[in-house]
Symmetry: C2
Subunit: 456 residues, 2 copies
């Protein structure tokens, strides 16, 4: 029961290659053991089965193609609010019964909401898969949405916002940076919602949302683990297959961002901040919104410029110049609409934030001007392919990759062909996306400063 936002925080905390969200990752040549099966139920629910027979466990996920960016105006937070409501009573099960059933068999479960999707997942023994499907199919349509449930859970999300956003200067800054970078596209609205709108969410909103989006024809079932596709199909037909198809949903066409002509900054000064930091973002295409090859080139650009300790930014600012405690770059490719490319840094010792920013800008200018070397590019491609080994080793990572791709306009083939597409990227393509998108006069920078630097 969490929401995914704060891309910058995630990246600052991560010292490994952030593969889960940085793009789908798969083996060069998938052995048969990893042959993925996908099919549709009669009611339109898509099913993907990822075999993994190394241990007697299955990961069961239902992804709904509904995220915060699909919310009606003035109803921000309803997608995440609804994720909470899905853990309440249905006409067949009391609140908490699903959770207890999972705990009783030593399984685990959770859910998350992002801009483009909402997902529910359980990890259990294969023998419990039918039970999971039965519970999940039940709450797809049979939730009891009364005023008491709404009020109680609304208090929970309001408290979640207070503790996770309002008490955290970085989170407060991130929200206003996002809303400054995105002036029309709905990624400007926080996944958890704006406080004043969350306070107004009501039963009418929740019921309308449920009836519109929680339907089998708006859902993707991912089952990864020690189970055969035909077994999954039989169980899915027996459970989800009984849920009636809903009305067809219109295409997910959202307001589009206008061209950015300006350099924008957002500065938060706060007594709780001890070390200043900055991050600069540019609007770039995603895997779904971009032309063929663009997102792949942006993934490799992010990797070379700022993906971990071998990257240009880390080597220049942290290792060689010694002015930064951290510096890097990342690209958020798995999004339905245009997305962001970010560079960031924080000073070390006596270094000034402005020096760190200037050094980051200089590395950006250099890669825009001179591009990348063949050797850098090959190493970056190799690191991406190797990251697949780690992804495949974690059953839930594979499930996440397929789920996120399918929920943002991609298909199974997109995931499977991704390594080939990464291998095909040329140095010229990487230079081209750097030159086209990383323009310093058309960027959005957030500054997090200690209180004494206020009013700068």
């Amino acid at each position: 029961m969490t929401f995914q936002a704060g891309w910058l925080r995630a990246a600052l905390l991560s010292t490994t290659l952030a593969f889960t969200m940085a793009g789908p990752v798969l083996a060069d040549r998938a052995p048969d053991a990893f042959k993925v099966t996908d099919f549709l139920l009669d009611n339109g629910m898509e099913v993907v089965v990822i075999p993994d027979h190394r241990s007697p466990i299955v990961t069961h996920m239902v992804w709904y193609k509904i995220g915060s960016a699909d919310e009606p105006p003035g109803k921000s937070g309803i997608a995440h609010f609804f994720e909470h409501l899905m853990f309440k009573a249905t006409t067949n099960h009391a609140a908490g019964e699903f959770d207890r059933a999972i705990a009783d068999i030593g399984g685990s479960n959770n859910a998350f909401t992002s801009y483009d999707y909402t997902a529910y997942h359980e990890t259990v023994a294969p023998s419990a898969l039918e039970q999971m499907m039965s519970f999940e199919a039940d709450r797809m349509r049979n939730l009891i949405l009364n005023d008491n449930v709404i009020k109680t859970e609304r208090d929970v999300i309001l408290e979640e916002r207070r503790s996770r956003i309002d008490n955290n200067p970085q989170a407060v800054l991130d929200e206003e940076v996002d809303a400054t970078l995105w002036q029309n596209q709905p990624y400007r609205i926080p996944v958890i919602g704006w406080m004043q709108e969350m306070q107004q969410l009501n039963r009418t909103d929740a019921t309308a949302f449920y009836d519109k989006y929680y339907r089998p024809n708006n859902a993707v079932l991912i089952v990864a683990g020690d189970i055969e596709p035909e077994t999954v199909r039989a169980l899915a037909e027996k459970t989800y297959g009984k849920v009636a198809r809903g009305p067809d949903l219109p295409p997910r066409i959202r307001p589009v961002e206008p061209e950015q002509n300006t350099k924008r900054t957002v500065t938060l000064s706060d007594a709780r901040v001890s070390v200043p930091s900055f991050s600069t973002q540019w609007m770039v295409p995603s895997y779904h919104s971009g032309k063929p090859g663009e997102a792949e080139a942006l993934d490799l650009l992010a990797e070379i410029l700022g993906g971990g300790s071998r990257s240009r930014l880390y080597q220049a600012l942290v290792v060689q110049q010694g002015i930064a405690s951290n510096a890097g770059a990342f690209f958020q490719g798995t999004m339905l609409d245009d997305t962001s490319f970010t560079v960031y840094g924080a000073p070390r010792g006596d270094a000034k934030l402005a020096d760190v920013e200037a050094a980051v800008d200089a590395e950006v200018a250099r890669i825009v001007r001179d591009g990348v070397t063949p050797s850098e590019l090959e190493k970056a491609k190799d690191r991406y392919v190797r990251s697949m080994i780690f992804a495949r080793d974690k059953q839930d990572s594979m499930a996440n990759i397929y789920g996120a791709t399918l929920a943002t306009g991609g298909n199974v083939q997109d995931v499977q062909q991704w390594p080939d597409r990464i291998r095909a990227v040329t140095a010229d393509q990487v230079k081209a996306v750097a030159a086209r998108y990383l323009v310093l006069g058309r960027s959005t920078t957030g500054y997090l400063l200690p209180q004494q630097q206020a009013g700068n």
Copy 2:
């Protein structure tokens, strides 16, 4: 056929008290000659009659309570587009017939669209009033909206956007500043629309918009001039009275702006700019959204701080320090939702923009810290009351004041009691709104720079 935006531009061009949009202005004690009558037609259309018998002229305006801030997501520009379409053929009159009829009798006409309303107006001899009403009532419901009309007029608004916004660095900057100041409230969307959305506007959008908003129960008729209220009533019933009432519209409740915690900047560098300039905006309450007295205090604060050549900013920066070619402040009070308070300046001679900004900030800090003097306050009130003389002297100004007030949630009494409410504002109230709203760490500043200062 214009749109109202660019509050900053308007203020920079104006050296007189900007009364039309800065707040309703009326005489302290209106003589009977200015007794205003208002009533409702049976179909819900509101009518206001403002007598003015000095010359044989009437101003006839129809205000629709629909503006760009009411547009559906992804349909920006439809309100202004619709204003253009209203000049096309109806089932009773060919395109241009209305315009020619006005020209034939030596009258004038036009229309404008803003965030909160769209208005159509004609100035003619009293004998032509019935004809004006007849034409206006006809196009309220009988427009012919076919694909050919849509396509032709869409090309016109696209060209209007190119010439008025995209070719004008100040206008490009203003758009991105607005979208940075307003992160949730729809005033962030330009009245003329985002290009990529204007290009998609179609007949379905136009028809839905027309059927929803162009109804007598969503309109205010203002007639000012040499005519009696009973005559207006009889003519209005004979023309507008025959238009069927539309479905009730829901209250105009729009997404609300979250609290701002950051200092934001937006910088445009352009080769066409010769002298740099800046403006800083804060979110403040409007006459409609504020607590009693707040907007009146903000009007007087704007007047004292930066309203014309007697203001503190002008005196300090232009006259005494001689560092600025211009400096001032303004407040946009007549809005349905929260609005903005702006200070601005541009350097003169060798002075730097940063010096001008620092001097403006110092004046803001001083008025926040020390408030205003009783003498300043009285003089500002007097200037407001005197501005009424000019307003009343112009028939269309009075019509505009009533129309804008009634279209943004006010009523006739609000306009009439406004001078008393201005007189009642205390120095403490002015200081209080300055201290509460003009916080430099929570502001949005736009910089327009010559090209050589790019990448600052």
